[in-house]
Amino acid sequence: MKPKDLLKITLGILTSIGGFLDVGAIATSAEAGAVFGPRLLWTLAFSTLCIIFLVEMAGRLAAVSKHTLADALRERFGFRFFVIPFACELFVDLLVLAAELGGVCLALQFVTGIAFRWWAFPVALLVWLFIWVGSFPIVERTTALLGLVTIVFIVAAVKMKPDWHAVGAGFIPSLPPKDAAHYWYLTLSIIGAVVSPYLIYFYSSGAVEDKWTKKDLAVNRGVAALGMGFGSIVAMGVMIAAATTLLPAGVALDRYEQAPLMLTASLGITGLYLFAASLGIACLGASVEVALSVAYLTAQTFGWNWGENLAPKRNARFATVYTVFILLAACITFTGIDPLKLTLFTMALTVVILPLLLLPMIVVMNDKKFLGDHRNGWISNTMGVIIVLVALILSVAAIPLQIIGG
């Protein structure tokens, strides 16, 4: 492997940690840790394996066929079909973006004491400016570097000296000790938070923005596996930190104000600032990615000119989409809806629409026209079938679980 490839992989890994760790991953892991200790680590591990395979597929499709996932899906299945996953995705992404903005606003509330809803529009403006002025490499690198602060969760998890046997046991799927409905609702939310469709669309568009070719297939594999893997370790840190602090204190995290306790227990007042910084930066990066992802998806669905490197005037409809979308999401955040509850609800909703994306995606990944000799092998296809089956079962179970467990 060439040094240039190594640089690309390192950069990709950093970006992926940023993409992986968002309000969904932090909130669901924290809540799971607070209520069930490290028992749900297996869900994190399983969903990480799923997203690694899916992201690798999306990157491979883009590198080989020069088609983004949205392009390929519309071409293969036609507009009449694709309009359904497209519309569902827009709706869920709006809620996801509102939750991400809410995460940044909460971080600001922790530091300033000013109620989070008042931060909705300033934060929205910041996200918009980032996209408006920035180029794709700038967006990539800034979120990547700033995202490193989230490593503090791993530090906190280790510092609290968790029961490593219990942590190990958490990787083996187990039945809930109590409150089964809540347990499965959290399982659902974690999977929805980790296997996020916006990330898959974003990654495939990013690969086209970075002009990947077949030569980048090794880079793609490295970035997918290591990037998502490291992101997952940070999320596990969140869960363990919550398990060692919130669970013994009897804090079930039913109010978001309780969340910083995860870090203040081991790091004192610095922990509060580090928690706010981690949450704020992770959610800011994710907000940028969700807003861009929506603009990519819409432009690719209708064939409009798109690209984060182009001047906004050269792709006016693309720029209009993210501008309007950020504004709408900010309005939702401004209503003062509890960001934690909104996040858990949205993540569970993501699972409901997941089969609509994954099933056609697996079909495209086996299409000779797009991928030639780089079609899915038996490992990817086996994994693909497992993911689709799990998603189908969960999406059926999601609605009753939302009502009972959420």
Binding site: F79, S135, E209, N305, L310, K313
Partner: protein, 126 residues
């Protein structure tokens, strides 16, 4: 080449390689005593609405009539199609085409008026 497989729903690029739209519809001319011929490719909301349901298209047209808008359909004659391979390359300049009015209007009246709308990063990325 198969029309439905290789042309419909493909990305359309104009002569400046600008992404212009997707092939949302294909109009075929039925001629007496001769084989049918592809007349033009069509892009835009009207043809998309028609594909979803004829009722949706009627609603859209009624709404347009009421608000007094006339919309020029974005049609590209088949003779302007240069290449069909993964993309459909056509020999027109989209930015000057009547069917491109939404993009042009947004660029001139909304996006173009915000400071920084001309900042491009194309060179640093390549």
């Amino acid at each position: 080449m198969e029309l439905l497989c290789d042309v419909l729903d493909q990305q359309v690029l104009d002569r400046n390689e600008r992404k212009t739209g997707k092939v949302d519809g294909i109009a075929v001319e039925i001629r007496k005593g001769k084989p049918p011929r592809v007349a033009y490719l069509e892009m835009g909301t009207d043809v998309l609405a028609r594909r979803l349901s004829p009722r949706l298209e009627r609603w859209l047209q009624r709404w347009r009539e009421r608000s007094g808008r006339t919309v020029v359909p974005f049609q590209v004659p088949w003779s302007k199609v240069m290449k069909v391979h993964l993309t459909v390359d056509v020999d027109i300049d989209a930015s000057k085409h009547e069917g491109y009015h939404v993009e042009r209007w947004l660029a001139e009246h909304v996006i173009g008026r915000i400071p920084g709308a001309e900042i491009s990063h194309e060179e640093e990325s390549s």
